[in-house]
Every structure is written in structure tokens, then in C-alpha cells.
Amino acid sequence: MTRRHRLMHRLIWPVLAVIVTLGLASALVLRPPPPNVQEQAK
């Protein structure tokens, strides 16, 4: 890899890793409860 590619690599990776990790964790935490739990809550 050229120096520019390594720089790109080092910039893209941390940003992508943070976005994806936060997105994945949030999607897991915020997902709606299963239908039977919702019915019980009602």
C-alpha cells in the first residue's frame, strides 16, 4: 500500500468501526420487544 492508502486506511477504519459498533449496539438495545411481551404489557 502507498503512504496515501495507509493514511486512508487509518482514517476510514476507526470512523467506520465507531459508527458500526454504535449503530449495531443501538439497534440491539432499541429494538421493539417481541409481540407476546407487548400483549402482556397491554
Partner: protein, 347 residues
């Protein structure tokens, strides 16, 4: 290197690679469908198509994870280099599997007469402002478009036409595609299906790719050797510290890497970038008297960085000298193909 179009140059290794890849994809999807239909027989036609959507989707995700792992794995151990040899075909296969996943999804809407609903789903602009409820299919489509561009430009014609640095930069978009796919699954099927296998697949896949890249990066930084000494030469080490028919890699003040090879009592320094795909030449070996790139076997002479006839590639070389028992490299690049190797007296 020519930018004229030539069809894929098949050889036995490529055929074996592709045959194993195809067999692996068929076995994966076949096993997935067999287990799925055995555990839960399909209720109706859309349910049946849904299994195919999942099978091809999981397979595409697994393939993307493997494709992204091949680079760092090959850096960490040369045992994985055979996987890298035909990585482009792996990428094209991944695009085909992902495209079939989309094809089954369109069919799923089609058999129910709901195809317009797909468009409505994608064009409900208010949903793009939501997190849970985001049109996750748009993320998948964006990832598929990136995979398409990569598959379409994977041929050596485009590599020569665009030049390796530009081609490589375009193909780094695969990381973005992977991130989009992870979020496509997280905001899509993971919201409706409570199976713990889905988040497990995402965390394990993304975790493996991230850990391998960090490990390869740390090792690469550790391997970067050489220190600039006055007046501007880089000290590499005693001649014997360079493995015979191998190289040590040093970093020039401008950040570019230089591969310093030794072949017996001959030493030469060249750019670490192979002319083909900018592969790490310094991780290669001298085979049949030529420096051989570990990625695809492109060869160059130690003496002047020129590829042996009939090939015409030329690499940048660097002046080397032995000073007080140390090999030193002048980081000022010489014009490609300039003879610069030296001999040293064995102790």
C-alpha cells in the same frame, strides 16, 4: 503493463480456486436451506422464498467477512497467501450471491403482488429520519452498488487503465460496503427476528474483521524498521540481518516504504510497491534470481528493478552502501529501472 483488454488468463490455480469457492457457496446455501426447511417446513410460497433470501444473505455476509479478512491474514502469516491470489474472483462471487439475495427479495414482493410496496418503502422519506424504522433495504442497495462497481472494475484492464493507486483507493470502498451490510441486517431482520444468532453473527463477523486489521496494523508498525542518520541515509542493519533471498522493509522520511533485499552477497533496494496491485514486495522472496511479489508472483530483477523479458514493468530503485558495517539506503528515489544493487564482502 498494457491497458489493452485481455480476457481473464486462466491457469490451473485459478480454476481450482474458483471450483473450491463455488463448491463452498453451494454447500453453505444447501446446508442452510436443508436445516431451515427441516426445522420449520415452509407454510407458503413467500415463506419458502424468505428462506432463500436469508440463505443468500447470510452467505454474502460470510463471504464479505472472509474477503475482508484475507488481506490481514496474509500479512500475519504467509500460509494465507493462496487465498489472496484470486481474491478478486472471491469478490465477484460475493457480488453475485448478494445480487441473488436481492433477486429473491424482489420475487418475495412479486409473488404477493406487492411490488409497489417495495417502492413505497424506499420512498417514504420521513422514515429516513428515524433510526429504528430506517429503510434498511436502502443500506443494502447502497452496499450492492459498491460491490457492483468493484466487480465491474475487477479486471486487469481497469487496474491498468485507472492505475494501481486509483484502483486500490476505489476498492477500499469495500469497507464502507461492509459497514452498510452490518447496519442493513441490524436495522432489518434483527428488528423482527428475535433469534440470538443474528446479533451473534454480526458481532462475531465484524469483531473478527476488526481484530485482524488491528493485529496486522500493529505487526506492520512493529516491522517498520530503519532510522534516518546524517546526512539523510537510512540505517538498515548489518548485511546478515537481512534474510538471504528475503528483505527488510524500512520507511523513508516521506512515509513510503523501501524493501532492501539480499541475495547472497548482493544487496539492492527497491520500492515496496509491486507495479501490479501495489502489493507488499518486501514480504516476497527471491525466486529463480528474481524478487517475487507474494500476491500474484510478479517478478523483478534485484539489480535494477526491471521485470525480466518479455515483461516491461520497472520499479523505483534506491542507492545502497555499506558504511561501518551497516547497510544504508539513500531515501531519494532513482528513476525506475536504474541499476543500484551492490556487492559486499562476506565476513
Amino acid at each position: 503493463m498494457s491497458v489493452g483488454f485481455r480476457a481473464v488468463q486462466w491457469n490451473r490455480d485459478k480454476v481450482v480456486y474458483d471450483a473450491i469457492l463455488l463448491a463452498g457457496v453451494i454447500a453453505f446455501i444447501g446446508t442452510f436451506l436443508f436445516v431451515s426447511f427441516s426445522l420449520h417446513p415452509a407454510k407458503d410460497s413467500p415463506d419458502e422464498i424468505d428462506r432463500f433470501i436469508r440463505a443468500f444473505g447470510v452467505c454474502a455476509f460470510a463471504m464479505l467477512t472472509i474477503v475482508l479478512s484475507i488481506g490481514p491474514l496474509a500479512r500475519l502469516s504467509p500460509r494465507f497467501l493462496p487465498l489472496l491470489y484470486n481474491r478478486r474472483h472471491f469478490g465477484v462471487f460475493t457480488f453475485i450471491v448478494a445480487a441473488l439475495h436481492v433477486g429473491f427479495m424482489i420475487e418475495w414482493y412479486g409473488v404477493q403482488g406487492n411490488l409497489p410496496n417495495l417502492l413505497v418503502e424506499l420512498m417514504t422519506w420521513a422514515d429516513y429520519a428515524r433510526f429504528i424504522g430506517f429503510p434498511f433495504k436502502a443500506l443494502g442497495i447502497a452496499a450492492l452498488l459498491i460491490l457492483f462497481v468493484m466487480a465491474a472494475t475487477s479486471h486487469d484492464f481497469w487496474l491498468g487503465f485507472l492505475t494501481p493507486p486509483v484502483w486500490k483507493a476505489i476498492h477500499m470502498a469495500l469497507y464502507v460496503a461492509y459497514g452498510l451490510v452490518v447496519l442493513h441486517v441490524a436495522l432489518g431482520i434483527m428488528q423482527y427476528d428475535r433469534s440470538p444468532l443474528i446479533p451473534a453473527m454480526l458481532f462475531v463477523g465484524f469483531g473478527i474483521v476488526t481484530a485482524l486489521h488491528i493485529a496486522a496494523g500493529v505487526r506492520e508498525r512493529w516491522r517498520d524498521g530503519g532510522r534516518v542518520i546524517s546526512p539523510g541515509w537510512i540505517a538498515v542493519g548489518p548485511p546478515q540481518s537481512i534474510p538471504d533471498k528475503g528483505a527488510r522493509i524500512v520507511t523513508a522520511p516521506d512515509g513510503e516504504r523501501i524493501a532492501v533485499f539480499r541475495d547472497g552477497n548482493r544487496i539492492g533496494a527497491l520500492t515496496n510497491l509491486c507495479a501490479h496491485q501495489n502489493g507488499p514486495l518486501g514480504e516476497g522472496r527471491i525466486i529463480d534470481g528474481c524478487i517475487t511479489c507474494p500476491w500474484h508472483g510478479y517478478q523483478y530483477r534485484l539489480e535494477d528493478g526491471c521485470a525480466p523479458a518479455p515483461f516491461t514493468e520497472k520499479l523505483t530503485t534506491y542507492r545502497v552502501r555499506i558504511h561501518r558495517g551497516f547497510v544504508e539506503v539513500d531515501p531519494v528515489p532513482l528513476p525506475p529501472g536504474t541499476p543500484a544493487a551492490i556487492s559486499f564482502a562476506s565476513p
